[in-house]
Symmetry: C2
Subunit: 180 residues, 2 copies
């Protein structure tokens, strides 16, 4: 299906949720500009507390900013190997970390929908990162997202959502859900 000149891959949203995995090793293949745009739009339109939209997205593109960002996160090789790096910054009052999590998940699922893997990266040195991408005291880093086509092929369609949900690395529903 083609909509507005972009090939539309119809991946069911629940299949995307169920099949998505963190991807840390990326193929040496660029992400097309229209896919990058969709990822950013997905963050932009996310819901937030009182519609405050407390986020900004810094695309870390220059080799120098890339290397300095790599040196500021725990897993620098995720940044070095990524086709696209986006730092999610939030500021202001309210549940900004919660809202950043919502926007991030929108971005990660939209990437996955396009066949692009991704991973949120924890920040080891906030000051180093602030210097690398030029931020102020008031900015709060939520995460550094690394994106790229997976080094190993992934085929979400090969299983049903229910099959994807069977994960040894997640606690079972019975442990998590309580009824009142």
């Amino acid at each position: 299906m083609v909509a507005h000149g972009i090939r539309w891959r119809a991946m069911d949203a629940f299949l995307a949720v169920a099949s998505r995995r963190e991807v840390r090793r990326y193929a040496d293949r660029p992400i097309p500009p229209e896919v990058e745009q969709r990822i950013l739009e997905a963050g932009r339109v996310s819901g937030s507390s009182q519609n405050r939209q407390p986020w900004r997205f810094v695309v870390v593109a220059s080799p120098e900013a890339r290397e300095r960002t790599a040196a500021a996160v725990w897993a620098g090789d995720n940044v070095r190997g990524a086709a696209l790096v986006i730092a999610v910054i939030v500021a202001g009052k309210g549940p900004v970390s919660f809202d950043a999590g919502r926007a991030t998940q929108n971005m990660l699922l939209t990437a996955w929908n396009e066949g692009v893997g991704a991973c949120p990266n924890g920040i080891a040195d906030r000051d180093k990162l602030a210097a690398a991408i030029g931020l102020t005291e008031d900015d709060h880093f939520a995460t550094v997202l690394t994106f790229g086509y997976p080094a190993r092929d992934v085929h979400p369609d090969a299983r049903t959502p229910e099959e994807w949900l069977e994960r040894a690395d997640r606690r079972p529903l019975e442990e998590l859900v309580e009824r009142r």
Copy 2:
């Protein structure tokens, strides 16, 4: 398409992200158990920092717990009119609010994929809510999610994702994105 006995609505994940709106007024129509299960599974399998899965989900079902929960959030009528109410609780170290936001967005998108609207509700009185659903000092409330089929029909398929993205109530991408 039918998979595992459940009618599978294939809604493209980006269409779900782009078309989703907060829904606060719900039809008087129950949510089938298999849809409730999918919503909970979507939270369960979400990614989190170091895979800590810091969440628990309390389904607020009894009339008494419902009314006490309604009295503890800012917009009590969202709770009173909802077909399903889930409190998202997180505990422990690390970016638990960020992780709760990721799990929440998975749940909201999965609901939307099934035609179910939802809204995160801010908590006005933490102690009252803790008493209503029986929590401890260490538990941190992330949000109270209210779900239901929208009172007004919504047709995500009636527009393309790009058309859904044109929102007067969101800041434009140029304001949010910076390149380094």
